[in-house]
Symmetry: C2
Subunit: 214 residues, 2 copies
């Protein structure tokens, strides 16, 4: 898949959104969509949509629009969503439990295999039928079960140490919810989810709208 080499990060960031809207179209039984119709739906300009999708060789046919099914499949393949990922969650507090429940809806694509905790009161409980295990055993578990992704739902203070341990054990990606930027070795992908950043953006936009009103 060498064609991926030149795709910018900005385009990659938009692909999951395209995919979500295509999924909704599939559910509604829509077969074809023009870039103009897609634009009305998704809120990007038609020219942006054509430009973005041209990165992948262009799936649209002049006058026919895009095939919803094949575009969905192609974007899924580009994102690597045509395979399964095995995950462990570290931290079984509310956030860890929320993520375990949330990823349950991804069904086949992202499977939470184990949840790890240091708090003895949580070790042994089951969340969505997944056992909460002792964090002491996380390295062994990741190695033996070929885990792809580690999800960090710990405190800010523990996050980097947990990340180091998971990388050592062989995960290929980290999904970090602790409110700190985590460092990983070059061969391990990282996605830091900063909930507060999103809340602060919201505050900014609320104040802008308020200023415009006054």
């Amino acid at each position: 898949m060498k064609r991926q080499a030149k795709i910018s990060n900005a385009v990659i960031k938009r692909l999951p959104r395209y995919r979500r809207y295509l999924k909704e179209l599939q559910k509604k039984g829509v077969d074809k969509i023009s870039s103009n119709e897609f634009s009305n739906l998704i809120g990007y300009t038609a020219s942006q949509i054509r430009q973005d999708l041209n990165n992948f060789g262009g799936f649209g046919q002049q006058g026919y629009g895009y095939s919803v099914d094949s575009l969905y499949k192609e974007i899924s393949a580009i994102l690597g969503l045509d395979r399964q990922y095995k995950m462990v969650i570290v931290g079984a507090g509310n956030l860890g439990q929320a993520i375990a429940n949330h990823t349950y809806y991804y069904k086949a694509g992202f499977v939470v295999c184990g949840i790890f905790e240091i708090n003895p009161r949580l070790i042994g409980i089951r969340i969505n039928d997944i056992e909460v295990m002792d964090y002491e055993n996380v390295v062994e578990y990741v190695e033996e079960n070929d885990i792809d992704i580690g999800v960090i739902c710990t405190t800010k203070e523990a996050a980097q140490e947990v990340a180091d341990k998971l990388c050592f054990a062989g995960v290929k990606g980290l999904w970090n919810f602790a409110p700190v930027d985590i460092e990983t070795p070059n061969h391990v992908a990282i996605e830091n989810v900063h909930l507060s950043d999103s809340l602060h953006s919201l505050a900014y936009h609320m104040n802008r709208l308020n200023e415009e009103k006054n």
Copy 2:
């Protein structure tokens, strides 16, 4: 604050990150930082940093660097974080509880005043000493307590209806965690948090790193 009028969305998106790093510097007792030092820390280029911060009139003095304190305060003010926001959470499941716990750490800035639920088994429990109330009473509560922000932690199916109700009741912003894009009237700001988009980006980057290795 008319100077804000021309700041691009891309810059705004980076401000919370600048602010987070400045906070860490403050904690470490650092007074001044040059754009080069800041660049090493935050991972943007020094020229990007200078360009971004120039949007606000430029706080840096040639040869002196930026004052950590005043830059922190200025960015906080631009984001509107120099005041308090009152929030309600709708949906007291794991995610709602996780967000209630999470925002607890924001202390003074964002205060969760109430949590609302339709499930009778959850109504009446306390989360971080915040009472879970009957969703039936949400409009009245938002109106009477001048709530600024509604946090949507419901299912995808319920999200838009909840949003409409909160907007009707007078919130100025919505922070949406349901996996669907919510529509709001023009005067209400919206921040959709799509956790799956971030997981899909992670999958993409994992596969890219894997290709590079092979």
